[in-house]
Symmetry: C2
Subunit: 509 residues, 2 copies
């Protein structure tokens, strides 16, 4: 494809993308395909000769699109979603064309500096203290874009490990650092994301999961108890990961309590606010940040709720030299004459190379403005409130933990098996997409509203779809318990009948 | 930005990108900015209110473009470049709009399966043995896209570490895995990329650098000597990283020799072919792959020479279960009913989430065809040959190691300081961009031809620019040695005079 063809075909792609994003709500959000479907549809080897562009795009329509989960759909309520936005798509588009690498300042001065500036902007916008910003030469703190929140968690754990082992080896220089490794122990809530466990596996440190309280929050006293007990057994508490907004139920660890314990015992405190961090752009949610000045590092993912295209996780560190000690290897071919006077982000992360990701973040901040992002966050929360009210209005369902921000967890009353079956039915129909979670041994369905496309009507439709999917399960349950009811007489499409049956039987799941 | 505005502004962006890529050769490839330049030009905080698109794009022109290294320039010869291509830009554009995550099969079936298929296509195209492909259910081997070659190196090291420690702990179940960690030792050539050292730091294992031979290749005998010596001291050799195409001089480790040693001592063998791997699409370069069937993992970066937009590193593993043992944590919210029947790439990598990167790779393979990529590789190599001939024709320069593939390393004869100064002058003028390397204590300038935009005329221009930049250095050197020559009489712009001076003085650097 040469310049002239690109000018034509890429403009067609612009319309293809706009058509897609305008109409994505009409597609099945969750595809009806089975593992291996695509292997049966594509050749087993790359073509020897070039294929024309239109044939490739025909295959996109015919074989790719039917196998996608449409994450941009207004009916996508699974995981934490990744709503993108036009300014972000534009930023990524331009970044793909420039295709500059930003591993050192010299490899892309604008890329490096825009990243520092954009992270200062975001940091200020969500209320991060000055100690995390990098506004002056010689600032100790600073922000960096990592691929994912999981990578940020690992980076912080590795930096903490380096710091602790360096201190221990200073006291006992004749001892190998690995000798101490088996004594290192990290902590997180029993509600923390699986990536914390993964970071522990990679870092080869012990991880202790602190029992969360009735609000699923990690508390300072439980953490301190665990630390005291571990220290008594010769262990070395070196790292704590506090979560602001857990994946399961959007629980918040008590940051100030946890921070004070970390200060007392000299542990690195990392804060994982992957999803909830975006909400801090609204001052009314910033109370959850109380105590953040006690943290050593903090991360949230603008690729979740800030409408920035994946991948983009904003991470701030109070002492960036700590990162650099963990990752700094500096061969001649990467050296430049401005070393020391500028940031070389390759020393702040695991891989060497990195895209110009600051561009999309900067485009979003400017084209939405802070007020635009705030509006988006608040609208999502209103939609989630609306959904929660609908669930609460139906006595066959329960919301075992109140909605927090834009996540509602709900379930059919009674056995977990009913909700498990409900989830399968919902996803197999593909009109909305949800995933499960569990807490306190209850299987719950997570319903997250994160897309600017989700309207109030979409919420009503989603709720009707869920009720419809629940019907068969409810009928079966009643049928099993009431053999005198002729199941064939129950009209499955009619909700009022079900409701009536319920009130008749006084049956509670 | 809403749909209608996007349709207009994104089409303007298409022309902006095409204009940029058509005209990038006319820009300074290396910018004339100093650290901090951008901080002085941008506000200190994000705007409260939305800013119109055109104002943002004006700033792209005014403040971003002047601070970029133009990696797409035909005059970019630094590092290994990242030439992108229109089909790849299109793939990334569409991927940004879909913005699906491909961490599990269920999170994006098409994304996951296209990745497997594209990696089978690439694997076959470069001559990877069947044991690395994933064409049938139950295949042990398979390919995955990692962000970077450095990440692939780390992933393989971690998988090898898990495998070795699991075996040791099976023999001595009462011992903590970290107890053995201090005994683990990995190996690579003294020419290996800095990311191997970084992987060792993160994995907390010892790394041994094997002295390379006169061709900068790691040889089996030297490796075996080191292993025997380490084993004698109670160390456990667990991982070897062989490089096919080093960063410094594109040296190739003797893969079959190294592979045989790895087999003998039970070490995981990883092959890092980050740059050179692309060349294996041409059968005439595939002899360097001899012995690859002895490897456990292999990676190369289509984001370097395959014209695929960064980030995209193709990695194949013979026993993918080994990866999964290292990274598998599987909470309820990520589970799906097709687990075990499909690939969940989140267990093959460090972060959890991942973009739909297979799309751009698939677009490139189809729109270029294998023949199109072969043509591109061969053209770059011809251009590098042309450059090497020009350097060799000038007796003030030397090529201390013959060109390999599309990299030429050259220097001014004599002290390293002359070439160091030459490099500074070249980059400060910004017409072409190069970076240094060193081997055997010689400072060399690397000149890599990797862009489909670099024409034969560009090579001539680059060489003239280098000779021009060398003039002052040559004059100063002669001046220092010959005080009877009146430097003011030397016309600095005229190469013939310099050549004459040289022949007059019989001076050799």
């Amino acid at each position: 494809m040469e310049h002239t063809e690109f000018r034509v075909k890429a403009k067609e792609m612009v319309d293809y993308i706009a058509d897609y994003l305008e109409g994505v709500g009409a597609r099945r959000v969750y595809p009806a395909v089975q593992p291996g479907y695509l292997h049966a549809l594509l050749p087993r080897a790359a073509p020897a000769q070039p294929e024309p562009w239109d044939r490739i795009m025909r295959d996109v329509d015919d074989v790719i699109m039917p196998g996608l989960v449409h994450w941009q759909s207004p009916h996508m309520h699974a995981y934490f979603g990744t709503p993108t936005s036009y300014p972000s798509i534009m930023g990524d588009f331009l970044s793909s064309a420039l295709n500059v690498l930003c591993f050192s300042w010299a490899s892309s001065p604008a890329g490096t500096e825009l990243e520092t500036i954009a992270l200062n902007w975001v940091g200020k916008a969500i209320g991060m203290p000055d100690c995390f910003l990098n506004e002056k030469t010689g600032s100790l703190g600073g922000g960096v874009i990592q691929t994912t929140a999981s990578e940020a968690t690992l980076v912080s754990l590795l930096a903490a490990r380096t710091r602790t082992l360096a201190a221990l080896c200073k006291l006992e220089p004749q001892v190998e650092p690995t000798t101490f490794l088996g004594q290192l122990v990290g902590y997180c809530s029993d509600q923390a994301h699986s990536s914390v466990e993964k970071a522990g596996l990679i870092g080869m440190v012990h991880m202790r999961y602190i029992e969360s309280d009735y609000k699923q929050s990690m508390r300072g006293d439980k953490l301190e108890e665990a630390i005291i007990s571990d220290k008594a057994q010769g262990m070395i508490p070196f790292w704590v990961c506090a979560t602001l907004g857990t994946t399961g139920t959007v629980a918040f660890d008590e940051l100030r309590e946890v921070g004070n314990v970390c200060q007392k015992y000299g542990s690195w405190l990392h804060v994982d606010a992957a999803y909830a961090g975006s909400a801090f752009i609204c001052p009314e949610y910033r109370h959850w940040l109380d105590g953040v000045e006690l943290a050593d590092s903090f991360a949230f993912a603008p690729s979740k709720w800030f409408m920035v295209t994946f991948d983009c996780t904003a991470m701030w560190v109070k002492d960036t030299a700590g990162l650099q000690r963990s990752f700094n290897v500096n061969p001649l071919y990467l050296r430049h004459e401005n070393e020391g006077k500028a940031i070389d982000y390759m020393h702040w992360q695991i891989p060497l190379s990195r895209r110009f990701r600051a561009l999309k973040l900067w485009f979003v901040l400017r084209n939405f403005g802070i007020s635009g992002i705030q509006d988006h966050i608040r609208t999502c929360i209103q939609r989630a409130q609306q959904f929660e009210s609908l669930v609460l209005s139906d006595n066959k369902f329960e919301v075992p933990q109140s909605r927090v921000l834009s996540l509602v967890v709900f379930r059919l009353k009674g056995d977990n098996s009913h909700s498990e079956r409900l989830l399968k039915v919902i996803n197999s129909r593909g009109k909305i997409h949800v995933v499960p979670s569990s807490f306190k041994n209850k299987y719950v369905i997570r319903f997250c509203v994160i897309s600017p496309k989700t309207t109030s009507q979409d919420i009503l439709d989603a709720w009707n779809e869920i009720k419809l999917c629940a019907q068969d399960i409810i009928i079966d349950k009643i049928g099993a318990d009431n053999s005198n009811i002729d199941r064939r007489k129950i009209h499955r499409g009619s909700l009022p009948i079900i409701t009536e049956l319920y009130s008749l039987q006084k049956f509670t799941f």
